[in-house]
Amino acid sequence: MARNDLPKLTEHGALNHVSVVRSRPMRIALYYALGGLIWVAVSERVLSLMPAHSYDLNRLMFVGVNALLLYLVANRYMKTIRISVAAREEALVRARGYFESSVEGIISADSNGMIRQLNPRGQELFGYHEMELVGQPIEVLVPQRFRYRHEAHRSAFFTAPRSRMMGRGMEIAGRRKDGSEFPAEISLNVVHTHRGKLVIAFVTDITERRAMEREARRNETVDALAAVAAGIAHELNNPLAVMASRIELMLTSDQDLSVQTREDLLVLQKNIERASRISHNMLSLARQRPGVRQAVDMNVAVEDAILIVGADAKAGVLRYDTSLDLSLPPVMAEPTGVEQVLINFILNARDAGARVIRIETALAPSRAGYLQLTISDDGAGIESSVLPKLFQPFFTTKAKGTGLGLWLSQRIVQDHGGAITVESEKGKGTTFTILLPTMADTSSDLVQLPTADKRTAPPQIAAARSNQSGG
């Protein structure tokens, strides 16, 4: 963390230079006394060596040597002072640099808890100008509910001050000028100055870190649930397959089935297919790494998906309207994954009461090396308040939905380096747009297995989604 890069002010060179300068007069006196003593001791002898000497010359010599001694000592003294002043200035500039450019908010306060200084980042964090805070009690920056406790802690801290993290294991929050709060991490350091103790607090806004931790926890929960779901799904597969095949046999035996029996069997068949789809989704949840990828022609994938789902669509009620760009380059993808995404979107459109589902493939106009697949329906549309939650796991507006279809689809598309955006208007229908890198673009990635963290969504998703949630 940045904190470790910052030097402790107590260890700072500036203070050492000050002490050097202070001890200098003592040494000057000492040098002078020593020089004078030697001169007194040897002056008689030196003067007697002179061929002719008088009392006047004697006095002149004494003054001259004294002046020389004083000059030598003073000269050294001035030189040392010049050096220490330069060093101190440099140290101050450096300290100011740390202070001004720190990514952490830095606040200093005296032993009465009065704010002395606030760096630019601190002003940004708390929304105050430095001038508004200097001389104010530090509690101004503490949320109301913590203030009383904070004052007690502060007094205790000053009786035995030492550098430490503030409130280890506790929720710490800063209060902005507008009264809002942010979660913070604060470390306290003590500096001894000639005007008394000074506490220096380093403040980091940990809003983002908190959000990431929450997201990680949620993903862990989802993964654990997914593992359980996949286990159950796996056990259901064979019984489902047996039922599906027996019903198919009965339906195709073409013997004297009554109309009612045939209809019942069709209902059974439809429901087994539904159960199988849920089971497939559950199984896919638990997948940790992407599977085998191969060149997939998205146009063929679209046709296949329509074929698979199409069996459900009652003739005449639901129409597919496709506009496929046959010159599209293939994408490097997991065929089952892509198929699942397409089926999910088609089923969603169907469940939204669509009469026409329009599927288009084209080269992405906005991004080179990507293809764009749009699935538009004229169904019920999505409430704008619901749009931001659309891709969350277990979020569903369907009475019988699992809330996993879109979440899973997004995960699959992101695994492939793509992105999904949605545009919807209540009562008018919904358009999902899927961007996927084409093979021309991903060929360089083939050697390295795509192990990129799938939890971090490509930034364009968030941007695109927020653009559209207003519409």
């Binding site: 597969n237 064979n238 397959a241 195709t252 199984l283 085998v292 089952t336």
Partner: protein
Amino acid sequence: MAAQAKILIVDDERDLVDAYMRLLERAGHRCFGAFDASEAIQIIDAESLDLVITDLSLPDTSGIEVVRHIRSKSKDTPVIVMSGHNTPELNQAAHAAGASMSLLKPVSIAVLRRVIAEALAPKVRA
């Protein structure tokens, strides 16, 4: 669809093998069923097959052994692998052993029909 293809279906779920055999026989194919790998290997040795559909988890050994065995006999016989687990490692192992295609169970009849038709009449899709 090629008429009268010889198809081997391997799965320890007897009800499933039975149903698939009946469905495929109705489509005019000749079918063999096996409930474990050793049985499957015997049939592979005895018959010249046009298509093999095998589960990956079999009671005696992995379905991958079945895939390897058919590959040691014939390079071109299409082999469709079905698995209840969607792990990439398993898929990769199956493909490395020579499987033509892997499907995730439960496979819908419509998909199975299409896949079989494609396997029996392989064409490069434009």
